[in-house]
Amino acid sequence: MAAVATSSFRDRTSEFVSLSNTLRRIGGNTLPSPQSQPSNDPSSVTPDRSEFNKNASRIGLRIHQTSQKIDRLSNLTKRSSIFDDRSKENEELSALIKNDITSLNMAISDLQTLQNMEIVERNYSGDRVVHLTAVCDDLKSRLMNVTKQFQDVLTARTKNIKAHENRKQLFSTAISREHPLKKPPNSVTEPPPWSTSSDTSGGNLQSGSSGNGVPAGNQLRRRMATDMNPSSQFEVSMLQQVVPRQESISQGRAAALQNVESTISELGGIFTHLATMVAEQGELAIRIDDDMEESLSNVEGARSALLKYFNKMSSNRWLMIKMFLILILFLAVFIFFVL
């Protein structure tokens, strides 16, 4: 009995042993042999009950495993980005989890019917009934928590996908605008695959298990991804639309438009660059202008000063000639004296 029951258990082996002894003393030939087997389960007197406990413990284990898977899925969701093609894993994992949850649901309902059957059949005492119902309720509440967790993870994932969609739309609004104008009736080759896929998606939606809008939406997307047929509408909603994969005409056109748009934005950037550089150089030109004006004024002042000097020099000449004559006269007189 692999009892890895997540519910805590009390080791009532001693009670069990004493009970078996008393019953044997009383004359309990009616008790079957499993009674003498040592076991760890509390109050495992009848095989049916132990079977109930077996199932319960198994269900608890599966719930635990499912919650671990949900944690893994949430980690994957957080780590995926536009350029990280993990959505397939995500979707497989979520499919797996969904299957687990549904099977667990069924198992728990089976358990409950088993319990009800037993209660009616065996006419258990009040304590046992209470115990059975408690175990069932516990498992049900745990399963509800797990499903809630799963839902949260799926909502987070759809939010992520929407964020990626929006970012893609920022770069590809021209595509969706062009397509109504440019898309000729050439999608004749494409509608057949599309109609089949939309049929299957419709069928899938109807057979949706938990009935939540979020898992169904993800199922739809998963179906689209596995069909590998992105066309113009779903281009934008696909996460793996980085490189155009198919050779269809509309795809090629969309890619070309994207190229054109990116080129245009590059050109815009180059123009702004150019504008800043020219503005800087304008500043340099202003500096040069100021320097030149300063030097002009300096040179003009120097010129006027020199002109004044020149005038003075030229006007003083006659006086200077006279002064020189007088000096020479004096020199001559002195020389005559010496001689």
Binding site: V260, I264, G301
Partner: protein, 200 residues
């Protein structure tokens, strides 16, 4: 280089029977002189086969050795183009579209009554053949992309020349500041000499 070898317009309304050639324009200059008739026959034959196999309202591309045959069938009027592998598929189909529209504008519905290969001369088709040898003519997107690339190259060159201009302006700034300093010294010297020799 990318090349169009032939453009054909056929009528394939009675489906199942052989399509009827309405107009035929081909450029066989790349083939030797003696091969031309056989190539012409080959084009006609392949054209008929492909047109027969193209359901109405659909486009098709068939690979044939080194040639691709693109066909577009619209309500029984089929336009075919024989192009080499490098010709972009998109521009091929936009070219076929254009030819189709032109034909319908020019000839209306008169083609529906034609029963034999009359191969009427339609100068537009031969012009189109020569004009659209360059895929950019047929496909506006290609043209736009090409022009944008050229513009980008021109802008890069512009930015380089602006950088050079910036360097020259830098040297000019330096020189002008030197000049202003020198002129200031000159002014001071002149004033000094003026003040000194007032006695004489």
């Amino acid at each position: 280089m990318v090349k169009i070898t032939a453009l054909l317009v056929l009528k394939c309304i009675p489906e199942g029977s052989d399509p009827v050639i309405l107009v035929n324009a081909s450029d066989l200059s790349s083939f030797g002189f003696f091969q031309r008739p056989s190539v012409k026959e080959f084009i006609i034959f392949v054209g008929r086969t492909v047109a027969k196999r193209t359901p109405p309202g659909q486009r098709q591309s068939v690979q044939n050795d080194e040639y691709k045959v693109h066909s577009y069938n619209q309500n029984g009027l089929c336009v075919l183009g024989f192009m080499d592998d490098h010709y972009p598929v998109r521009s091929a189909f936009s070219l076929l579209n254009k030819v189709m529209d032109e034909y319908q504008k020019n000839f209306g519905d008169s083609w529906k009554t034609v029963q034999t290969d009359n191969a009427q001369q339609w100068p537009y088709l031969s012009e189109a053949l020569t004009k659209f040898q360059d895929p950019a003519e047929a496909d506006k997107l290609l043209k736009i992309q090409r022009e944008l690339d050229e513009t980008k190259i021109i802008l890069h060159k512009t930015i380089d020349s602006v950088l050079e201009r910036g360097e020259k302006l830098d040297s000019l700034v330096e020189k002008s500041s030197d000049l202003s300093a020198a002129s200031q010294m000159f002014y001071k010297q002149a004033k000094k000499t003026n003040q000194c020799c007032t006695i004489l």
